[in-house]
């Protein structure tokens, strides 16, 4: 008879392999496409592989033959926009989330709903309307305009997440700090903020990734002058599968990186901070 532990271990391993396949198989396809120079049907694997598209995309080589351009400009634009969006969103969402979590304010539900409003309608009509308005005030086709659109998309999630992070901290922890002599501000900085940090960080990462990935809003407001990675991906996906695969992988890297960091850091912070 097989010991139970061996049985469950085997089962676990099989499940893990299946899960890995489900998650990583599509990415493997991307990876293959990104290094394929020649790949014609009915071949299972590319006939000819090389890093030509990668070199071209990353601006290491310049060749007119493969129809790809450098992605570095778009990458930089995307990261700059995402960073600006993260900073602005967190500056707004942190205090708003705190107030919504701690204070009894009139029309609280209405305020939360207001943040949710842009998400409640189909996005295209909202963005088209926004484009017309932005055209009038000269924000369309400019980075500030794109940042504003991303704010609209990200703010609601950030406010909800940070509000939840603050709500999970017992108010007695703050009251105890006040009683030993800390002002309201100092209590917030020394007690509340460190305890909410894991949740706030998660919210910031989420905002960063959402902004990096944002398509529709950027499409309407940004093009043709603000080209982010998703814009480039869209314009190349129709005719250049290799180049599109390179961009897709580049877009995936920050997500995977942050997931690993979050997993490590958040776990550490929660175990070290919140305790049992």
């Amino acid at each position: 008879m097989i010991p139970r532990t061996v049985f469950t271990k085997t089962l676990e391993t099989i499940l893990l392999v299946v899960l890995c396949f489900v998650v990583f198989a599509p990415m493997l396809g991307l990876a293959l496409w990104s290094i394929a120079i020649r790949w014609y049907w009915p071949h299972v694997l590319p006939q000819d592989i090389g890093l030509d598209y990668w070199k071209q995309a990353l601006g290491i080589e310049r060749s007119l033959a493969i129809g790809a351009v450098s992605i570095t400009d778009a990458f930089n634009t995307s990261v700059v926009i995402a960073l600006i969006v993260v900073v602005i969103v967190m500056v707004i969402a942190t205090p708003v989330g705190y107030v919504l979590a701690r204070y009894k304010i009139p029309f609280k539900a209405l305020i939360m709903l207001l943040f949710l409003m842009p998400q409640a309608f189909p996005q295209q009509p909202v963005f088209v309307n926004l484009l017309l308005t932005f055209n009038r005030i000269g924000l369309s086709g400019k980075i500030p305009g794109v940042v504003l659109v991303h704010l609209m998309v990200c703010l609601v999630f950030a406010v909800w997440i940070s509000s939840a992070a603050f709500k999970s901290i017992p108010p007695e922890l703050e009251q105890a700090a006040r009683s030993v002599g800390a002002s309201g501000f100092r209590t917030f900085v020394r007690i509340t903020l460190p305890l909410a940090a894991p949740g706030l960080l998660a919210s910031a990462v989420f905002v960063f990734l959402t902004s990096l990935d944002e398509f529709t809003g950027t499409f309407f407001i940004g093009l043709p002058f603000v080209t982010t990675l998703p814009m480039l991906l869209y314009s190349s996906s129709g005719y250049n599968a290799q180049f599109a695969s390179v961009i897709a992988i580049v877009l995936l890297i920050p997500s995977i990186l942050f997931m690993v960091i979050i997993e490590r850091f958040l776990k550490g912070a929660y175990v070290g901070g919140m305790g049992a």
Binding site: L173, Q175, A182, M274
Partner: protein
């Protein structure tokens, strides 16, 4: 150490009353317990004193100092919560040093004071532990040390033992009491546990529905409950109802008629003939006789009763006895057990009955 004065303190939550027109003096070095069922206003009062709630009206003075409008951080009051409220991201040392840093105390002196405070609560050497590495009892001791290390002028304890198991709770009662006496710090202790209140208070304030019901020493309140609520809330009490029909011995005793042919004699300061009264009797003051022996016949108040129910408590037997429409509780030693349905004779002394004027309505 200054005393604390509350003058006409009132706090409402919308239409609900938190505390109503409460005036109270807590003497220098005294441990005053605010006791009452949940919703009685004890925690509201404590939070007003701590500055966590703003009273609608009334004044709070600590000695000469008016606290009413001061923010909590400027009141110099130590606070201990039911859920300990230790900061989980700081070590024990970090929890204690926070208040000292805010006071600009040097790190050398801080270290000394923290060592002393931890020795006081018998947790020396645990400076570098995190709260999650401590047991519930240890966490509450750290919370106590954190409140005491800032040398507060007043210590507020909000049901500090309610989260601990029964045995530890009793142990900590004595510890808190001893510590408070040793330091001579004025303290307010909020609890709904009457046994805890009796065990550790200098005086007890009983609150009910936001209003002060009775103030007194534990023995005062136990032996002379001011009304039926207090008598029922503190310890076990049985109630009988009747009318005063006669005053005796120069107005020291009253003859109370409970019903047709059933009268008892009770101690009363100023009996008013014709007044409706409630009589409160403690189970431990009731003596039981199986027969009308000579000893039984010598009792002033001897009543026939029927055993309704009995329960074995380990150290005693607990009985429910019926006299006409009333149920009385009595406790006896465990050497003989009475059976339900059995008739017994119960007796109590006139000065062990508390006469309470019947409440109108």
């Amino acid at each position: 150490m200054p005393g604390l004065y509350l003058k006409n303190l009132t706090k409402r939550f919308g239409k609900a009353v938190g505390v109503l027109d409460l005036s109270l003096e807590i003497r220098d070095g005294e441990l005053m317990t605010l006791l009452g069922p949940s919703g009685c206003g004890k925690t509201t009062t404590l939070r007003c004193v701590a500055g966590l709630l703003k009273p609608d009206s009334g004044e709070i003075y600590l000695g000469e100092r008016r606290l009413t409008d001061l923010p909590p951080e400027r009141r110099g009051i130590g606070l201990v919560f039911q859920n300990y409220a230790l900061w989980p991201h700081m070590t024990v040392y970090g929890n204690l040093v926070f208040g000292l840093q805010l006071r600009g105390i040097s790190s050398a002196e801080s270290k000394q004071r923290i060592d002393n405070a931890l020795a006081l609560v018998r947790l020396s050497g645990l400076q570098e532990r995190y709260p999650r590495q401590l047991s519930g009892g240890q966490q509450q001791r750290v919370a106590l040390a954190r409140a005491l290390v800032i040398e507060p002028r007043l210590l507020l304890l909000d049901e500090p033992l309610s989260n601990l198991d029964a045995q530890l709770r009793e142990e900590m009662r004595f510890e808190i009491r001893e510590l408070q006496k040793k330091l001579g710090v004025t303290a307010i202790y909020v609890t709904h546990d009457q046994a805890e209140a009796l065990a550790l208070s200098d005086r007890i304030t009983i609150l009910h529905q936001g209003k002060l019901v009775q103030i007194g020493s534990p023995s005062d309140i136990y032996t002379h409950p001011g009304n039926r609520f207090v008598a029922g809330f503190i310890g076990l009490t049985s109630f009988l109802e009747g009318v005063i029909v006669q005053a005796e011995e120069g107005g020291q005793f009253a003859l109370v008629q409970l019903g047709e042919g059933l009268t008892i004699r009770a101690h009363a300061a100023e009996p008013k003939i014709g007044q409706r009264v409630t009589l409160a009797v403690r189970p431990e003051h009731i003596r039981l006789y199986l027969e009308r022996t000579a000893e039984a016949m010598a009792e002033t108040n001897l009543l026939a009763a029927t055993v309704v129910q009995s329960a074995y408590l380990g150290n005693a037997l607990d009985y429910r006895l019926q006299i006409r429409d009333w149920i009385l509780r009595a406790q006896t030693s465990t050497d003989r057990r009475l059976e339900p349905g059995q008739t017994v004779w119960l007796a109590f002394s006139p000065d062990q009955v508390t006469l309470i004027p019947a409440e109108p309505g």
